[in-house]
Subunit: 326 residues, 2 copies
């Protein structure tokens, strides 16, 4: 399969992207990476690697700048984001991966790939690693305010993601709330609770903030505001704990490194970034500070999504949900 990778997304682009792409094709013989971006910069970064089978450079004359809004980014047809997504739209790539601006990737993915029928506004989902297995949180920032029906869409899409990419038979869906009783939270959440209870999903009810790391559900549904605050908080925890447990200059044989290594698992970037769910294609958004390892993981997520037929599965499921409501 061909995966278009935005080579201009990370803070030290295209170096992380190129190294991540090389690692990804080495790890998976079925993957061919299209490196999309400035051809000269990419060639420079690639020159460090002698072997580069299944890597092709696709030139993009422009790039999305930090000062761009999602809307102004759309008006750069030659940007690596727009060129990369257009490859997928044209059938020349099976998936797109970018560590560029989340807003820009999201907007361009929705405009170019289009939402699946039955999806109002695609959510961005992220896996929170726990020691009992991953918990998918959706939405983590695409939709700041949500209607009850949208939260059910997030649940439906998230459940399929966990079925197809994590091999769960019947993912447990929880609604993130301030208490477990059905009447807790805002009116939107109360209505979402009722809809989820009748959705046919494996709805386990409301879950609280502390239930995510306890793995009380496989998919935690929330609006993008709550999810974004939680995700960014979570991202900061690993760094905090390392500072707390192993301050710089700690004596001892490698304890600091040992702790950092064990906590690497807390780093959601290592788990492959955040897929945009419910578009007619595969679009994976990685952290702007992604390491080569994180880029490789993002490509891995995209590859699993393609192989599992996730998008067709979502389309079928949404159609069935419409049927059952008629």
């Amino acid at each position: 399969m061909r995966i278009a990778l935005d080579a201009m997304g990370t803070d030290d682009a295209p170096s992380s992207e190129v190294e991540g792409a090389v690692a990804a094709v080495e790890a998976d013989v079925g993957v061919h990476v299209l490196l999309v971006g400035d051809r000269t910069a990419i060639a420079g970064a690639l020159s460090r690697f002698p072997r580069r089978n299944r890597i092709t450079v696709v030139h993009a004359p422009d790039r999305v700048m930090a000062s761009d809004t999602p809307t102004s980014a759309l008006r750069r047809p030659g940007s690596s984001i727009n060129v990369g997504l257009s490859l997928q739209k044209a059938g020349d790539a099976d998936a797109f991966v970018s560590a560029g601006s989340t807003g820009a990737v999201m907007a361009a993915s929705v405009v170019l790939l289009r939402p699946l029928r039955g999806v109002d506004r695609p959510p961005v989902a992220t896996v929170f690693p726990t020691d009992h297995g991953p918990t998918l949180v959706a939405d983590v920032g695409a939709n700041i305010e949500c209607k009850p029906r949208q939260l059910v869409e997030f649940a439906r899409l998230g459940a399929i993601y966990m079925q197809d990419l994590q091999g769960l038979e019947s993912p447990r869906v929880g609604l993130l709330n301030v208490g477990t009783e059905s009447e807790k939270g805002t009116e939107v959440l109360q209505a979402a609770y009722r809809l989820l209870a009748g959705s046919g999903l494996n709805f386990v009810g409301n879950v609280e903030g502390g239930d995510i790391l306890r793995h009380a559900c496989d998919v935690a549904v929330c609006d993008g505001f709550t999810g974004n605050i939680l995700l960014k908080f979570y991202e900061s925890v690993a760094a905090f704990v390392v500072r707390k447990l192993a301050p710089p200059g700690l004596r001892g044989n490698g304890l600091r490194e040992e702790i950092q290594d064990r906590l690497r698992d807390l780093d959601y970037a290592e788990h492959g970034g955040a897929p945009l769910l419910g578009v007619n294609g595969v679009s994976v958004i990685c952290h702007g500070r992604s390491s080569p390892r994180a880029i490789k993981a993002g490509i891995g997520v995209a590859a699993r999504a393609v192989r599992s037929g996730m998008v067709a599965h979502m389309a079928r499921d949404l159609a069935a949900a419409r049927e059952s409501q008629v």
Copy 2:
């Protein structure tokens, strides 16, 4: 000063409360604890302690049950919560501390102590310990949905709390949001941003989820929904990290205990529970699983609030804010 302590609040009441009270009066010669609850049960727990100067038992014939709602709890005039708060209302105690149901303590505090003039709905605030100093988050659960004006009240009350209890001259106030730009977030947050910018507070703008543990502000303002999700998530982090870094059965000389000990600082319960801000009195809510150490810390917070004249300070500040708006 006299601090009324609900002796029936924790999961193993009154044992934790009694032990915490004994420790608190030993640590602070200015503190006299009124243990409020079932006199027989309290006497039993107290019998383990030979010295108990400055501890008085006040009988309360009833208690709030787990099945009570905040409203039904109000209809138990003989409960330890209502008796304890009534002592403060009557001037027989200077503060109230409880590890009982947050909703019940909050409702009874508002009804019995009354909000200060200018406070719409008092928030519950909690200190998130960071390695650079504490960050106060308000609200963490009292008000699920908030108007812009309420968020400004939380900021004002939180800033005074940090002035009086942490000795900060001009606490930095941040608005918890999904980005730093003023136009980020919901309309409520955009309006709150504008109000905070003109409030006279030391407003540092929007802060993101990751900024709390980075200590980008001293007071992080949010609605009670967001704060509650975040607080419960935070509570679960320490346990998660211990499992991750030091699984049970880990070999090595005391590493697990060492890690637990260093992470104790992450436990917000150790920092004295959550004060209800903006009522005409001092009411501190501790976690239902509070250890004696956490109860002692809660009493310590109440004592500092009383000594600093926090409530009068808040009333003056609210009056001045009203003046400046006229």
